[in-house]
Amino acid sequence: MSQGFDFSIAIGGAAGQGIATPGNILARMFVRRGLHLNAYNAYQSIIRGGHILLTMRVREQEALSHGDHIHLLLCLNQDTMTRHLRHLGPGAYAVYNADNITPGEHQDGVHLCGMPVTELTGDAKNKLAQNTAALGVIAHVLGLDFEVLESALTLQFQRKGEAVVSSNVAVARAGYEYSSANFTPLANPLPQNPDPLAVWTGNDALAMGGAAAGVKFYCAYPMSPSTGVLHWMAKNARELGIMVRQVEDEIGVANMAVGAAHTGARTMCATSGGGFALMTEAIGSAAMMEIPVVFINVMRAGPSTGVPTKTEQGDLWQALGASQGDFERIVVAPQDAHDAFGTIAEVFNLIDRYQCPAIVLSDLLISEGTFSVPPDDIDMSPPIERGKLIRESNGDAGPYNRYLDTADGISPRAVPGVPGHVHVVATDEHDEEGILISDEFTNPIKRRQMVEKRARKLDDYFTRVAAPEVEGDEDAEVTLVGWGSTAGVIAEAMEQLQADGVKVNRLAVKWILPFHAEAVTEALSGARKTLIIENNHSGQFHRYLRSETGITADGHIRKYDGEPFMPHHIADGVRAHLAGDVSGGVFVPDQEILV
């Protein structure tokens, strides 16, 4: 907040009121100016009605969370006004259609910007006119020239023809002019950074990470909040030569993925908790057959169907316990969209090396959030290392054992079609040749050999994957530990605490399994007070951290109401913990903005 422009616009209304369009137009306008964006959309599992609140934070600096405040509230219905006007502080704006929305009690200094929409547009029937008029008001309040908005509108509507463009431009202009005549613009108008940014969602980033890593087979069954990955893949399939299949269920997805991966195609699929539950058996099978596949679980609030449009970090133990028996796999929880993009390529190289499945834990906050990204950061040519893969005949006529017990546990992996390498992979325990050990005599010695061979594959894992590090103040009073998507909001909470003079640092864990137990123990050994921050009820990460290191945290900040942390929730929790004000060790912030 201290550094430069930092402004949050919230657009509220019901499903079906067309919130997405003004949201998109504003987002494009902001990133074209080189401003950073972090947008969170709070919505319900219905197609019409309910209450949606899209919060778009725009910032000169990187925006690591959707922030704490609403500086401008666009109310598309009375409900939004009623719910949120009280969250506006002095200097904030409420923009609304004065024809049918009335403001209520509010703090001093709030700018009430009622628009006489029917009068402005001369059209009482067009329900979407208020949205466009409001864009005019917002552009004016932000200190933009109308041309900036005009060209954004043109771009947005050009597919729909000239008439749509010009009528929208006219309505927006009326709003802009009305605002110029009646409302006070921001003292510090919207700045401009030199380099324009791009915009993506976390699901776009996951999909693009896959495309960059060379995914050539993607299959899925739709499930919120993971469906965006499928949509991106489907849209870009033809251009990129990616085979995209929608399958009858998640069991089919996971097994089809195993089949495709076995042929040599880099293969990925995504789902959410319930679909992931159905995939678990196949994940174990991939591990036993030693086939690399990426399974993405985009977490939403559970248990069971739960709250399909709300976020949670509730599937950690499901990922850890996916499928029976002990087996090799990688579990990783990216920290934001940008990180998700890069993680996918990294994970593919790892699983091609180790010939095992990977589970990527994203969540609704990352996956459905909209974020700016510097276009040059989108490196879609990462190194591609496929490990001991044999896709073409190498002229080697010697005997081929798929599960050769090598020193590093990793066996050369031939795909079907290669002459001279015919073999059978099996989910039953097998010997080096791939013959089932229970076929004739279930040899305990061979069994033990194969368990140990597979386990050995990951021996050099920690030399290849970066351990998490403590970041922030050196001699901190308090160390905040998070995992996955809370990294950014924790960083912002730290800024707030540091501004208050609290010395604080952070350990943000991303690579979950195998766990960097030594590095984490070392990192936390100097911590004076360790607080764990999790978006779930039971402290799943804390229990896992303890299972791997024995470390017991000093306190917890948890949230399990479906909404993500805002920075002040964490900062408040830290303050309460430091003040010794937390009974039972767990601070649970209240969600003030009821979305």
Partner: protein, 298 residues
């Protein structure tokens, strides 16, 4: 032993797997194994060109006894895995082998959807009307009244009819064989492999250990080859009607075939015009592709 180096044509023996079957002596599955080995040899295929995918069950041990690439996957999931194999590398000949429980019980949903997609697979079901490997429980194809370990008072659920079900779900080559007639099996299997779409062959493959009702004798007394009946495989109604007969006469042979329907990989836009399999195209995307994508994000 690769197709390039080969001097003389392969025979059924060349398709013997690394181990001998551990099926009970007399198990019907031996016949299908032999028939499949003969079929692929007669078609001039090489082991490395074939992938044989199975689930779990006595019958699903098939890939271990058959010399080709093989995947011995999860109970009920063979068709899903096989679809992944075929779609990722359409140049492979993909056989799917398994049991009635595997295919019509737990695997039923994949069966339905593989059929409507017309994936170019040859699906050989060793239907013994029992769960063999788990030592004799009722299967979805067990007859009404059949006593098994899980139905000691008799089965009260009507059996599925794999033939009518395959036809109505969209399979484009649907046959029924019997372990007692290897010649017919070879004819059916060769036709199935050559058929460009989803081919299902339900094979009466007696379980001599757990099914005392549907024995070789039971079938020998009843089987009637459709070949002798002047049956027209393009007529789905007559196919279904004949498939429903059970009591005195049970038809075997090719019930239904439709060669007009395109297979899934033939319809797949990214494989247009003989594109190489996605399993073997280069992973990297081009700078131009990347730039086009990023431009759309700005």
């Amino acid at each position: 032993m690769t197709i390039e180096l080969r001097e003389k044509p392969l025979t059924a023996k060349d398709f013997k797997g690394k181990v001998d079957p551990d099926w009970c002596p007399g198990c019907g599955d031996f016949a299908l194994l032999r028939a499949t080995q003969m079929s692929v040899a007669e078609l001039g295929l090489s082991p490395h060109q074939i992938v044989c995918v199975s689930g779990i069950g006595c019958s699903s041990n098939f890939p271990g006894y058959f010399n080709s690439y093989g995947m011995h996957t999860l109970h009920g999931r063979a068709l899903a895995v096989a679809t992944g194999v075929k779609m990722a590398n359409q140049t492979l000949t993909v056989l799917v082998t398994g049991g009635d429980g595997d295919g019509y019980g737990i695997g039923g949903n994949h069966f339905t959807h593989t059929a409507r997609r017309n994936v170019d697979l040859t699906y050989l079901v060793m239907n013994n009307q029992i769960y063999g490997l788990t030592t004799g429980q009722v299967s979805p194809s067990s007859s009404l009244g059949m006593k098994t370990k899980s139905t000691p008072f008799g089965n009260i659920e009507r059996p599925v009819n794999p033939i009518t079900s395959a036809i109505m779900n969209g399979a484009t080559y649907v046959g029924r064989g019997f372990s007692g007639n290897i010649k017919q099996l070879v004819r059916l299997i060769k036709g199935a492999i050559e058929h460009p779409g989803f081919a299902v062959i339900d094979v009466f493959s007696p379980c001599v250990t757990f099914n005392r009702d549907n024995t070789y004798d039971f079938f020998r007394q009843r089987v009637a080859p459709l070949e002798d009946e002047g049956h027209d495989p393009s007529d789905w109604k007559s196919a279904c009607e004949r498939a429903m007969e059970w009591d005195d006469r049970i038809y075997t042979g090719l019930f239904y075939q439709d060669q007009a329907v395109q297979s899934l990989h033939a319809r797949e836009p990214i494989l247009d015009g003989g594109a190489p399999p996605v399993s073997h195209v280069p992973e990297a995307i081009t700078r131009e592709q990347r730039d086009r994508i990023v431009r759309r994000m700005m």
